[in-house]
């Protein structure tokens, strides 16, 4: 293998790509995080072995105070270092691509991965507009989160292991978006799931956390099942699994709305729903909050969970060919968005609120790509990466602080429960401000990033209404969700940062702002959360008040950037379903609805702040259990319980029954019974052997009579 890989890398350097775009060491972008993983992994093993020795000798290592060993200083540089390098390299490539009109993706093939018969899957990466924008988000946000982690995880004994996992995650995430065919994407797809599993269960000593990791993996595998099946169908139809070949041939090979393409898209949707935590497979994501908070920011908000959106966007041609599949995507997205938003209303754990918010926002993205607004979906994916990462990191800073405070006095309160917080803005102003920026962004308030991306999605859902009345309903759900979003985010901010402090007098002394290496990433992300939305302002909006009457530097940039990838799909959609309407289902143009949306959201934020602020909130230990509908929301509509009842436990009981009854009683019982029966017959047969001569002679004579009879008669 080594030879061919080396030659492929050599080709990587020397090869001149077509289309005027010459990528700079794209393979290295992948290799860098892998290298980081290797180094950090080795350090982790060394560190783990040392801890294990200490443990065997009966002493616990104290990482907080003692001089930090090499295994804990090196990852600080290696982990974020490789990310920075990868980001810079990506940026170079991105800039390189900016200058050229790239109609066809640049594909680099390294070696043949699986080849047999008609199937040939190459280990190949594909650089195009979509993958590059994803890579920018992954490496950029990833780098910031790595930096944040340095501060956040400093005292953790598993520090090198943490960075090893994180680097590995980035490697797989990059593989996911850079792969040039479905199996390559699947490598990343399952790889990120694996890293997610490892990172959710990072503190595996806690059974709950380990369980959460396991749950994430298994639920994700349900989705992976769908993806596998989709690949099988695609191979059966196209005889290949390369993106270019499939998407190029799809319009001619497949029948519009036919069973095949519908099946493919539905299975792809299953896969996407698993990874992107959509109904009905969203249940793992809230539990995934068991992982360290930067992990939640990177994996469970900014990057991995958006893989489903990426998948749909990547397969836009297929979804455009399958109206039912696309509608299903939009519907699933809408239901998820609304459903998760209702749950978020009554959560007290700050990370849970953010988790459901993430689920909800992913629903938005699904709606977007479901109605054919692929660029809008990707746009929201990007802005969401900024502000949600920011929110999570902010929450991380809060939890970090709360944890220290509670730890200082050994109070066994929950550091993540918002009822135990309150008034934190006095202690951590930087966090407070940046998180408000993110909140306003997610609430969809002009001119923050979320406003542009989310409203674009809502707009496209609304303007799809001529195709089917379904979209009118979805549109209504989307607007409702947007308002709920504004409310629960406000509630979270108010409960956390405003009002009186409920942590307790002694503890409050220990509350503090996060260190610089944590707040700087917050700041950068805050900036991105403000301006990130400006890259894709629709032309009509740009010309209106919201665009500062043309003062924004660019409009529809992302739409145009992604056009080579979405044009085919867009054309199919327009041909088959007609163009998008120019007004919403109830009338009104783009600008008007922009105004309405931001106005409503602002109103909800203000009213919500007053409502929540006026409530009396008591620390969690003193709080009454929620009642009525609130309890249902608080208990997440009992979906986990439902799954437990109708799926998990039946399968477990069935498994046990299979073992105890089918395996042990029926199959093994039969096998053993045959044996016992044979021996029983043997025992029975030996009873004839009485030892009595006369018996013997009798039987002998009997036999003789039979033989004589047979022969003579």
């Amino acid at each position: 293998m080594s030879e061919s890989t080396l030659s492929a890398v050599a080709a990587d350097v020397g090869q001149v790509a077509g289309g005027g775009f010459d990528p700079v060491l794209p393979g290295l972008i992948l290799l860098l995080p892998l290298l980081g993983f290797a180094v950090n992994g080795a350090l982790a093993l060394a560190s783990g072995s040392r801890s294990a020795t200490a443990l065997r000798e009966g002493r616990e290592e104290d990482h907080a105070s003692s001089a930090r060993p090499l295994t804990h200083t090196l990852p600080t540089w290696v982990g974020p270092g490789v990310m920075l390098a990868a980001f810079l390299l990506t940026a170079v490539n991105f800039v390189g691509m900016l200058g050229v009109e790239l109609a066809e993706p640049v594909i680099r093939t390294y070696w043949t991965w699986m080849a047999t018969g008609a199937l040939s899957v190459e280990a190949a990466i594909q650089l195009d507009q979509l993958s590059l924008i994803m890579m920018m988000v992954i490496t950029g946000v990833g780098f910031l989160i790595h930096v944040f982690s340095v501060g956040y995880m400093k005292e953790d004994p598993g520090y090198p292991r943490y960075f090893a996992y994180l680097n590995l995650f980035v490697f797989f995430m990059l593989t996911l978006v850079m792969g040039a065919n479905f199996p390559m994407m699947f490598v990343g797809w399952e790889g990120v799931g694996l890293c997610s599993y490892l990172l959710i269960g990072f503190w595996f000593r806690d059974r709950e956390k380990a369980n959460a990791g396991k749950k994430a993996f298994i639920v994700n595998r349900v989705g992976d099942f769908g993806l596998l099946v989709a690949m099988f169908i695609l191979f059966a139809v196209f005889g290949t699994l390369d993106y270019q070949a499939i998407f190029g041939a799809a319009p001619d090979t497949l029948v519009y709305g036919g069973a095949t393409v519908t099946a493919v898209t539905l299975f792809l949707l299953l896969g996407a729903a698993g990874k992107s935590a959509q109904v009905p497979l969203y249940v793992w994501l809230p539990d995934a909050m068991a992982g360290p908070t930067p992990v939640s920011a990177l994996i469970h908000a900014a990057t991995m969970v958006t893989a489903g959106v990426y998948l749909v966007a990547r397969s836009s041609v297929l979804f455009a060919m399958a109206p039912v599949g696309a509608a299903a995507v939009a519907t699933v997205g809408a239901i998820t968005a609304l459903f998760a938003a209702t749950i978020a209303l009554k959560q007290y754990d700050i990370k849970k609120v953010l988790a459901y918010s993430t689920v909800s926002q992913l629903g938005f993205m699904f709606m977007g790509v479901g109605v054919g607004a692929y660029a809008a979906g990707v746009f929201h994916l990007m802005t969401h990466a900024f502000f949600k990462a920011l929110l999570f990191l902010g929450a991380g800073a809060v939890i970090h602080s709360m944890h220290h405070a509670l730890h200082a006095t050994h109070k066994d309160w929950d550091a993540q429960d918002m009822r135990n917080m309150g008034g934190l803005r006095r202690f951590m102003p930087a966090t407070w401000i940046t998180m408000w920026v993110a909140t306003l962004a997610i609430a969809g308030i002009w001119p923050f990033a979320g406003f542009f991306s989310k409203d674009e999605i809502i707009w496209y859902v609304g303007t799809s209404a001529p195709a089917s009345v379904l979209y009118t309903v979805l549109w209504g759900m989307a607007i409702a969700t947007a308002l709920l979003t504004a409310f629960y985010m406000t509630r979270m901010m108010v409960m956390t940062f405003h009002g009186p402090n409920r942590t307790g007098g002694a503890e409050a002394k220990h509350l503090h702002e996060a260190p610089l290496n944590m707040t700087i990433p917050l700041g950068i992300l805050a900036v991105l959360s403000v301006f990130g939305g400006w890259i894709n302002v629709p032309g009509s909006v740009r010309d209106s008040f919201f665009g500062g009457f043309g003062l924004l530097p660019m409009s529809d940039w992302l739409d145009r950037w992604l056009e080579p990838l979405t044009a085919t799909a867009y054309q199919i959609r327009v041909d088959q379903l007609g163009a998008y309407a120019s007004t919403s289902p109830v009338g009104g143009g783009h600008v008007l609805w922009g105004a309405i949306a931001t106005g409503l959201a602002l109103a909800v934020v203000i009213i919500g702040a007053r409502v929540v602020g006026s409530r009396e909130i008591r620390p969690a230990v003193d709080s009454p259990e929620p009642t009525g509908f609130g309890k249902i929301l608080h208990d997440k509509w009992y979906v986990d319980e439902l799954y437990d009842r109708i799926l998990v436990r039946p399968i477990q009981s069935l498994s046990r029954a299979c073992w105890r009854w089918i395996d042990q009683v029926i199959i093994d019982g039969t096998v053993n019974a045959v044996g016992s029966m044979a021996r029983g017959f043997g025992w029975f047969g030996s009873l004839v052997q009485t030892g009595q001569l006369n018996t013997y002679a009798f039987i002998l004579t009997l036999g003789a009579l039979v033989v004589l009879g047979v022969l003579i008669l």
């Binding site: 009485t690 030892g691 009595q692 001569l693 002679a697």
Partner: protein
Amino acid sequence: MLVEALVLSAILFVIGTLGVLVRRNAIIMFLCIELQLNAVNLSFVAFSRYLGIEGQIYVFFVMTVAAAEAAVGLAIIISIFRHYESVNVENFNLLKW
């Protein structure tokens, strides 16, 4: 004539067989076996009337064998009598199953 002789011989043979089946005394059983052999001898003799003299010679062979068997058999019976103080075959069931 032949048929009658053969039937007689068969009857004698069956009597001998039945004797082996129903009697319990080893010596009586042995004598029943001798009866069987002699029944066969009768057949030989009867056949020899039609097939030639050699049938009668065969009878001598059989008698010789029977004598040898008697010698060995009685020795065995004596041997077992020493162990069991009995020649009732019902008692000899150390070996079974």
